[in-house]
Structures are given as C-alpha cells and as structure tokens.
C-alpha cells in the first residue's frame, strides 16, 4: 500500500528536481523569452506577409507589441508563451534514471512540437486580439471600427479562431508537454506489460 518507501523512492526526487529545474529556468525567464521570441517573431511575421496582412509583432526591449499597420492599432501582448517550454524541459530534466542522451532527445522533440503550437498561437492571436478589442468597444464606436476591421479580418473566422484559441489556452497548452512526457517516460511510470495489466 502507501508506504514511506514508495513515497521516497522517486516521487520526491521528481518533485525536487522538477522544482529546481523550473526554478532555474524561471531565473533566466527574460533571457529565454527574448531569445525564443527572436526566433518565433520573424517566422510568424513572414506568415502574415504571405497572407498579405499588414500585421506584425514587434519586440521593443521587454515589450512585445502587435501592430496593425493599416488600422493604426498597436497592442501590448503577453510575452510568456514559452511557459509550457519550461514545463516540458523541467519534466525531462527531472525524470530520474534516464541518460543525458534520452533527456536531450526528448527535450529537442518537445521544444520542436511546442514551437509549432506557439507559431500557431501567435498567428491566431493576430486575428483574435483585434476582434476582442472591437467587442470590448462601447456601442457607439464599435460599428465604425468593426467595419474597418472586417475589411481585413473576415468575420467568418472570428468564431472558429476565437474558440480554437480559447480551448487551446485552457486545455491544450498546459497538457501537450505533459503528454509528450507521459509517452517518453513510460518506463518510469511503470506502464505494465499486458499480462501484468490484467493482474492489476
């Protein structure tokens, strides 16, 4: 049953290592953010250009801004999209009993996967943020601004993109790194052989 030994054997080291790894990454969060966004922003700006949208992310020191050239809007946005990178990296660093090679391989895989989702998030953000802004305007101003916005950002994508964005933010973003870890760390998690599963 629930013994002191089973508690101490590896859940506690996992927690301690995870906390240390996440804490260390936390100390360097600004440097990580700057470097990571320096890689992501040109790619997503390139996608906007391919679509012919006059939208771009601009990094100014510690601030990430979303600038709508034709519309004259400029929004300051969160620059912490890399947070689940911390989760992913810390989980693999913290997993006991695995080689450095295993950790490096899976950290590269999780960073690659999460980067794709971050690009998608930044791209969807270009649509969702301007619609959220329009929706938050007072009734008198909304109609006029909405007309300008709808010329560039078609309304039919509003519902879809906003819902994808919202669901991903709540459910997908924190889960993906965990899911990759669950698969990679299957031995550590004692996912049993078929016969043992039947006994259990």
């Amino acid at each position: 049953m629930l013994t002191r030994n089973s508690l101490l054997r590896d859940p506690l080291p996992l927690l301690i290592r995870f906390s240390l790894a996440a804490g260390l990454l936390f100390l360097f969060r600004e440097e990580i953010s700057h470097s990571y966004l320096a890689l992501m922003v040109p790619v997503v700006n390139g996608i906007f250009r391919l679509e012919g949208l006059a939208v771009e992310f601009i990094r100014q020191r510690d601030v990430l801004q979303l600038v709508y050239g034709d519309l004259g809007f400029r929004f300051t946005v969160h620059d912490i999209i890399y947070q689940n990178l911390t989760v992913g990296v810390a989980l693999f660093v913290a997993t006991p009993g695995q080689s450095m090679r295993w950790k490096a391989k899976w950290i590269a895989i999780v960073i690659g996967l999460l980067s794709l989702t971050h690009l998608a998030t930044l791209y969807l953000g270009g649509y969702v943020i301007v619609w959220d802004y329009v929706a938050a305007l007072p009734d008198g101003e909304r109609a006029q601004v909405a007309r300008q916005v709808l010329e560039v950002f078609p309304r039919d994508r509003d519902w879809l993109f906003s819902n994808i964005f919202g669901l991903w933010h709540t459910w997908g973003r924190p889960t993906l790194a965990l899911l990759v870890w669950l698969y990679a760390a299957r031995d550590y998690l004692y996912l049993p052989e078929e016969g043992r599963a039947a006994v259990a």
């Binding site: 859940p11 924190p174 004692y190 043992r196």
Partner: protein
C-alpha cells in the same frame, strides 16, 4: 505502413494510455464547459472559502463575494485589494488532469478509487494554499501577482499533482509485486 503498424504494436500500451488520457481529459473539458456553475459551487467556492479561513487565521482579514460564481469567478477582498479568483487560480485544471491520468492508468477500480480519495483532497488543500500565497503576494507586493499567478504557482501545482500521482503509481506497483518499485 508495415513500420507504422509494427511501431503501434510495440508501443500499444503506452499509446493506449496516452490516448485514453486525452479522451478522459477531453470528456472532462466538455463536462466543464457545460457546467461551469456546478464546478464553481462544488470546487471554486470551497477552495476560496478555505483560503479565506486560512488568511483570517493569519490575521489577514479577508472576505469572499460569491455573487459571480455562476459566471466563473468570485472576489476575494484582502483589506484594500480585491482579487478575482478564477478557475485558473484554483488549480481545477490540475485536478482534472489528475483525474484523467488516474482513469487512464492501467490499475483496478479499487486502486483508482484510492487515488481519487488521496489526490482530490491533497490537490484541494494545495489549491487553497495556492490562493493564500497569491493573496499574501497581492497584499505584500502587488507587482509580483501576475508572475506568481501565471508562472510560479502554475508550475508548483503541476509539480505537486505529478508528485501525488507518482506516489500512487508506486503504491500500485508495489501491490503488483514488481521489483522495479
């Protein structure tokens, strides 16, 4: 094609676990999206109330306004500061992930019941403490609240949830008599 089939065959237990986990979490997400008021009263309210009680014990006078629970938040007032408690703040998503992980893991129903009896109260208490920490941070250094809310406490909650879950896995494993445990 043959390689894919062979890969799936060789990895089917872990793939089945991952797929079952995603399915359980998706199911809980749907339930949550359609019954936020229930989760508000059944989880957010008691967690927030416990946090208020703990803050009072620390001589930090706190009050709770529950009028907005049906729309997904309540207001915790700590002296001059009003703190909006959302589902994100209460660790609910970590709890639902824990439930999904437990449901997906190959173990008997009895063992899964033990996991829920162990994990739900543990995460409940941790989430109340999380609100207390956020309340104290909001009171002592309001500029740090965003950092603690979005980063520090999120990671702490995930780490704690995995700690409880791994603790339970080891107990399952011990019962199976697997030497590795």
């Amino acid at each position: 094609m043959h390689l894919t089939t062979s890969f799936i065959h060789s990895q089917r237990r872990s793939l089945r676990f991952c797929l079952f986990f995603v399915a359980c979490l998706a199911g809980l997400a749907v339930v949550f999206e359609f019954s936020q008021s229930f989760f508000g009263w059944a989880y957010m309210y008691p967690v927030s109330l416990t946090a208020v009680g703990l803050l009072d014990l620390m001589s930090l006078e706190a009050t709770l306004n529950t009028a907005q629970i049906p729309v997904g938040f309540c207001e915790l007032a700590l002296r001059q500061i009003i703190y909006r408690v959302t589902f994100d703040c209460t660790g609910l998503f970590a709890l639902l992930v824990f439930v999904s992980l437990t449901a997906a893991y190959p173990a008997s129903f009895g063992k899964k019941g033990i996991a829920l009896l162990l994990g739900i109260p543990a995460i409940f208490v941790f989430s109340s403490l999380r609100l207390v920490v956020l309340g104290v941070v909001a009171y002592v250094e309001p500029a740090w609240i965003e950092l603690f809310h979005v980063y520090v406490m999120e990671l702490a909650t995930l780490g704690f949830m995995l700690f409880v879950w791994k603790y339970w896995i080891n107990s399952v494993c011990v019962e199976r008599g697997e030497g590795r445990c």
